[in-house]
């Protein structure tokens, strides 16, 4: 595999919080236009790894390469400016604000009049409606508050927003948690839609069956270490669950060789 295929490469990442070794010498990479499933039990280090990638934490050791260049983030904003966009289920949108206002929050379209930055409300309404319609989200009206949307619709708005603003890598943290089956399916469809549009996606979850249906590869973490990495064809959903349950890294490696 040529390195040019890689959108993100994290090498030898270690992170310690006080006496807790959250991550130890983890290598992790995501190809262009790939859905990477990042799985593991609670406390395995998934969130820590992702927070390092999105600029929330700095690693104690290790390097991060994005599009082939070494990068180092001092804030989530720096990561986002490069095109790494995290979508957290509860934190992505503000329920009492309208869909449009959420869509453009922090990136408002404005017209400068003297010292004032006036909102281009109509243009933003039109853009938000169009973008969401294009990726298949139906909204009644862009000035409806996000609070009236279902959990799945909120995820879709957040994903649509990331696509529109040119994200290259989408990080979805438990995007299907607490969603109904139908709603989960919708979110999974949006993941594929985002991939279709050329994005790479890191999909973090406990629900192996959800991630299995959309992911191209899987990275399994356990107690802060990478236990295994598989292409989808090489492993079944049941085997992934078994690895997470047993935490048997040696057995897994032997199986890989064998």
């Amino acid at each position: 595999m040529s390195r040019d295929d890689l959108l993100v490469r994290m090498e030898g990442i270690s992170k310690r919080f006080g006496t807790v070794q959250a991550l130890k010498n983890v290598d992790f990479d995501v190809k262009r236009q790939e859905v990477m499933g990042l799985v593991g039990d609670n406390g395995a280090g998934k969130s820590t790894l992702i927070k390092i990638l999105t600029g929330v934490y700095k690693p104690d050791e290790g390097k991060i390469y994005f599009e082939g260049r070494e990068v180092s983030f001092n804030s989530p904003k720096e990561a986002r400016d490069l095109g790494i966009e995290a979508v957290y289920q509860d934190l992505a949108l503000i329920p009492l604000m309208s869909i449009t206002r959420n869509f453009f929050l922090g990136r408002e379209l404005v017209r400068k009049v003297g010292p004032l930055n006036l909102l281009e409300q109509r243009k933003m309404d039109e853009t938000a409606t169009k973008v969401l319609r294009d990726i298949g989200v139906k909204v009644r009206s862009p000035d409806e508050p996000v609070a009236i949307l279902s959990g799945g619709e909120r995820q879709s708005v957040a994903i649509g927003r990331a696509i529109h603003f040119g994200a290259k890598l989408l990080v979805l943290d438990e995007p299907t948690a607490a969603l109904s089956i139908k709603e989960s399916q919708k979110v999974l469809d949006f993941v594929l839609e985002a991939k279709e549009r050329g994005l790479s996606i890191i999909f973090i979850t406990h629900n192996i069956y959800h991630v299995y249906s959309v992911a191209d590869r899987f990275t399994i973490l356990e107690h802060g270490r990478k236990v295994a990495e598989f292409a989808k064809g090489d492993v079944s959903a049941e085997e992934i669950i078994e690895i997470i349950r047993s935490g048997h890294q040696e057995a897994v490696r032997e199986k890989e060789k064998g």
């Binding site: 986002r80 949108l93 009492l96 604000m97 990136r107």
Partner: protein, 323 residues
């Protein structure tokens, strides 16, 4: 077709935070029109506007801050301090414009202190501004020795601040309207307004999207304090005398008016137009009860009832709107 128009109108209207207070305002207005004989006269309405304007300027500022998710219990003391600065400088022969600027500047500094303390210590604004309220009230009492300061002169500036220009109608009405228009514009039409809603409605999400929520909060603390200061100067221009307890209890009245106007205590939702109607409602209850012949002691009790009813109705309305 008329029916359909009415239907879309009510569907749209009920989704606005001001809907509840508008209905309440009309009900109380019609009620007093029947119950109090001289209620529907120009001077009576002008009297209500005078009271509502001073309260409303403070309410508008506090609403702007509450939408950003913070509180300000110090506005009453700030109003007193600014009014007192106007009074003391005027009696000392200092030009009124200088006194006004000093008063507003002092208010801005108090607001800045409130804001910086809240965002850097993490202590809830309720506590910080309660302390601030007591501190500045104490300073006023100490400086004046507890005596009111009276000023006998006049000036064009004092007229511009709160002179009578038609019957009982005073200039404060224009200041009130101007501030409501300005803040409404800022909130609904500018990028900053978007950040204010986001700061109160989802600080974590706002921060994640790169909005400097601490800056927004500090700016809004300053705006809230400066408007309370302006109200203090306007009151000085009306009474030409400031006693050391001026503005005491006003913070609660202003918060009540803001909440009656549909603004959420938890932030992220509210309206300056609602705040204006809330202040007008409070002013109307104050004058209306007296005109209807009720002992003025009943005023506070009535406001209490209005506050509770309004809050319950507003919560119901919002649930209804979010369906």
């Amino acid at each position: 077709m008329d029916n359909k128009f009415l239907k879309t109108f009510t569907t749209k209207a009920r989704k606005r935070p001001e809907f509840g207070v508008l209905v309440g305002f009309l009900i109380v207005f019609i009620g007093f029109s029947f119950a109090a004989e001289r209620f529907l006269t120009f001077d009576s309405i002008a009297g209500i506007i005078t009271v509502a304007a001073e309260l409303g300027i403070v309410t508008a500022g506090i609403t702007f801050l509450m939408i950003a998710g913070e509180f300000d219990l110090s506005v009453g003391s700030v109003l007193g301090a600014s009014g007192m600065i106007c009074a003391i400088t005027a009696t000392a022969g200092i030009p009124h414009i200088v006194g006004l600027l000093l008063a507003l500047g002092a208010a801005a500094i108090i607001g800045l202190l409130n804001g910086v303390l809240v965002v850097h210590t993490g202590v809830p604004s309720f506590i910080i501004t309660l302390g601030s309220q007591m501190l500045w009230r104490g300073v006023i009492l100490a400086v004046t020795g507890g005596f009111p300061v009276r000023y006998w002169g006049d000036s064009a500036l004092l007229f511009a601040l709160n002179g009578r220009f038609a019957g009982q109608l005073r200039m404060s009405a224009f200041w009130f309207i101007a501030i409501v228009v300005l803040l409404t514009f800022a909130l609904t039409r500018t990028r900053y307004g978007n950040w204010v809603f986001a700061t109160g409605g989802g600080p974590q999400a706002a921060k994640a999207l790169g909005i400097q929520i601490n800056k927004v909060k500090v700016v809004n603390f300053v705006i809230s304090a400066v408007l309370a200061g302006l109200a203090g100067c306007i009151q000085f221009a009306r009474f030409r005398s400031i006693d050391p307890t001026r503005g005491q209890g006003l913070e609660l009245e202003a918060i009540a008016a803001a909440v009656i106007g549909g603004t959420l205590m938890t932030g992220g939702y509210g309206s300056i137009i609602g705040a204006m109607l809330g202040a007008l409602l409070v002013g109307m209850v104050r004058s209306g009860l007296v005109m209807a012949g009720a002992p003025s002691y009943w005023y506070q009790a009535f406001i209490g009832i209005v506050l509770i009813v309004a809050s319950v109705v507003n919560i119901r309305l919002r649930r209804w709107a979010l369906r």
